[in-house]
């Protein structure tokens, strides 16, 4: 036990003595998590959601079109600004506005006739930036709804035969979605996996620096030698998660809305898996140089498929299924479940089981393939 603890202490001393490693492990996920969290909506309890900018070109200036403009300006999702045609076209072309709507002359009368089936339908042109197709579709939908509202202001007009009530299913009623919860979890996962690479490379460097000869000459079991490295990596991993989520809590109001034991369980299981991942890198690579490039590529792929950068629900359906083979995906889902989704510990059990299973598989391969002999 003396040797085991001394080896763990040594790893922690070296880690915390390396400013670059500490910054990469703690500051980088906070910085990048803050950026992604802000981009993906931030804490919706604290601020208004981002409104989509739309340019409105009214070539008719009639009663209906003015009513339509007023209706659209009432929509909470849109920031509608009147514009002339050419400035609107130029703004969309240059990417300064994602969408512009052009209402033609004669629209009001044609639309009224078309509504009752006796005339040709007028044509509204929607100019959009090709990189904002989703937003253009959203504007078309809102436009259709608001058009009915505008037309219904005419005598004998219609209105939509239903209303919608939006409810975001977060942890509970009154708790808004906080995208920082996802982004901080994702970045913690990414930088913990990077730390796993350092664990593997560190073991390979021991061999290169002759330290492995010293360790193997001592009366130590393989379990002590590799287990101590895994234990120190797990401790650092837990510290990264603790620091990152504490920062997210204090600065961005990210809360563990679900089960705290479940959250700790997912964090612990992922930390263990990261440690085993590091051992696996050390076992499969022959030199630190060979390990670095391949391990970084594998790690980035794993992070990408985990949904750490963009939520996995944005993936194509086949990819959503496929990425369940990636252990980090389970860590991400588990952290989401325990934070902003506010789910109970039962939803953490499967992610924890998958992560622990991955730990066993990675660890077994590492022990099997590890070169125990000193060079």
């Amino acid at each position: 036990m003396t040797a085991f603890l001394a080896l763990v202490r040594k790893d922690l001393q070296i880690f915390f003595g390396d400013t670059r490693a500490v910054i990469m492990a703690f500051a980088a996920p906070i910085l990048i998590g803050s950026f992604f969290g802000y981009v993906f909506g931030g804490n919706q309890n604290k601020k208004e959601s981002t409104r989509l900018e739309v340019l409105f070109v009214d070539q008719e200036q009639g009663l209906v079109t003015k009513q339509l403009l007023a209706s659209m300006q009432q929509d909470a999702n849109l920031e509608v600004t009147p514009s002339a045609l050419e400035p609107a076209r130029e703004a969309v072309h240059k990417g300064k506005a994602p969408v512009a709507i052009i209402i033609p002359v004669g629209f009001g009368d044609q639309a009224a006739r078309a509504l009752f089936g006796s005339g040709a339908k007028p044509e509204i042109t929607v100019l959009f930036d090709p990189s904002h197709q989703v937003e253009a579709s959203m504007v078309r939908g809102i436009l259709a709804g608001q058009m009915m509202v505008a037309m219904s202001s005419k005598p004998g007009g219609f209105s939509l035969p239903f209303m919608t009530k939006d409810e975001a299913l977060t942890a509970r009623v009154g708790v808004a979605y906080n995208s920082y919860a996802h982004s901080f979890g994702g970045m913690a996962i990414q930088f913990m996996l990077f730390m796993g690479i350092d664990v593997g490379i560190g073991l390979l460097l021991l061999r290169q620096r002759g330290l492995w000869r010293r360790f193997r000459a001592a009366p130590l079991s393989k379990i002590v030698l590799l287990g101590s490295r895994a234990a120190s990596a797990m401790l650092v991993g837990m510290m990264i998660l603790a620091v990152v989520f504490t920062f997210a809590r204090v600065v961005f109001g990210v809360k563990i809305e679900g089960s705290l034991p479940g959250f700790i369980g997912v964090c612990g299981a992922f930390s263990l898996m990261t440690a085993a991942y590091g051992l696996l890198i050390a076992a499969l690579a022959k030199t630190p140089e060979a390990a670095r490039g391949l391990a970084i590529l594998a790690t980035l792929l794993m992070v990408m498929m985990s949904g750490a950068w963009v939520p996995s629900f944005m993936f194509p359906s086949w990819m959503q299924s496929f990425t369940k083979l990636v252990p980090a995906r389970w860590a991400m889902d588990g952290l989401d479940a325990m934070t902003w989704r506010g789910l109970g510990i039962e939803e953490a059990l499967l992610p924890i089981a998958v992560l622990l299973g991955s730990t066993v598989v990675f660890g077994a391969i590492a022990v099997w393939r590890f070169r125990w002999e000193a060079d």
């Binding site: 040797a3 001394a6 040594k10 390396d18 000869r213 010293r214 193997r216 000459a217 130590l220």
Partner: protein, 309 residues
């Protein structure tokens, strides 16, 4: 104390060690001398239990090293050829760690740390980071780290590589202190001067085999000459080198610039040789003699120089 019997180890088609045997007693320094690639480090690896031999066995005080946690490993201290230290940590932190690998902690560890730091002359640098040490200081700490658990047998793999003469002498002094304390030292080197100075017995290795083993004096007796005579000629046009080499009692003759080097079987032949030289165009201005070295023995046994091999 340390016995190696018929150790063999191959890596693929390369027979790194081929039937190496020797015994080293308490208070004795045994040298493995040979060029790079002779199999010295692999032999040390097998002695330390780091490399599993294909055949043969190692015994320490009559016991085999069996398994990772063999208690016999506590009798062994290994000084690797590399500077096997954590540069990021202080000297004291390194020693605490390497002591802990053998179960040392608390007051016992502190006592051993003081002892080894004093031995290698680094007691006043204990708290300094190793990265701030000179190469020689790192070498001394590399030795100290292997001594924390007070092993009876110390395996030293080229422990003076790349150090300045002052640090080398300091390490030699440390090793002589250990020898005087009754420790068993096995020392690999490709520096013949080190082997001659330190070792009681030497095994000369080449291509994985021990090609000669004896005391230093015994090995030197295997040299084909008893002395070398170095003669500085007045002129550089000496033309009778072949005749000089064929003189009775002369084993070898080489000419480098104005210096003629004759290997002779007996110093008694020297006056006659010098008279012959004067009468054959070899007027000289200075004569000195040199005894043969282990380099001479290696050259004689292998046909190659230690440094060139």
């Amino acid at each position: 104390m340390l016995t190696a019997e018929n150790l063999k180890k191959a890596y693929g088609s390369l027979q790194a060690v081929d039937g190496v045997s020797f015994r080293v007693g308490p208070g004795e320094v045994f040298g493995l001398l040979g060029p790079n690639g002779a199999g010295k480090t692999t032999t040390i690896g097998m002695l330390a239990g780091l490399v599993a031999p294909d055949s043969g066995e190692v015994r320490i005080a009559g016991h085999h090293i069996s398994g990772d946690t063999s208690p016999q490993k506590r009798r062994l201290g290994v000084v690797p050829q590399e500077l096997a230290l954590f540069d990021e940590l202080s000297a004291a932190a390194n020693l605490t760690l390497f002591g802990a690998l053998y179960g040392l902690s608390g007051a016992a560890e502190a006592k051993e740390q003081d002892r080894v730091l004093t031995l290698v002359g680094l007691a006043d640098r204990a708290k300094d980071k190793v990265s701030n040490f000179s190469g020689g200081m790192k070498r001394r700490l590399n030795l100290a780290a292997a001594l924390m658990h007070d092993p009876q047998v110390i395996l030293l793999d080229e422990p003076t590589v790349g150090v300045d003469p002052q640090s080398r002498n300091a390490i030699f002094d440390n090793l002589e202190t250990l020898k005087a304390a009754g420790k068993t030292l096995l020392y690999t080197t490709h520096y013949m001067e080190e082997a001659e100075r330190l070792c009681d017995h030497i095994a000369i290795m080449d291509h994985g085999k021990v090609i000669a083993t004896d005391t230093v004096a015994g090995l030197l007796r295997q040299a084909p000459v008893s002395s070398f005579v170095l003669i500085d000629l007045v002129a550089n046009d000496f033309a009778n080198l072949v005749e000089a080499a064929a003189l009775p009692g002369v084993v070898s003759a080489t000419l480098s610039g104005r210096q003629l080097r004759l290997g002779v079987q007996s110093m008694g032949d020297l006056p006659e040789l010098l008279r012959w030289l004067l009468s054959h165009g070899g007027e000289f201005e200075h004569v000195q003699t040199e005894r043969p070295t282990l380099e001479t023995v290696f050259l004689h046994l292998t046909g190659r120089s230690l440094r060139d091999a």
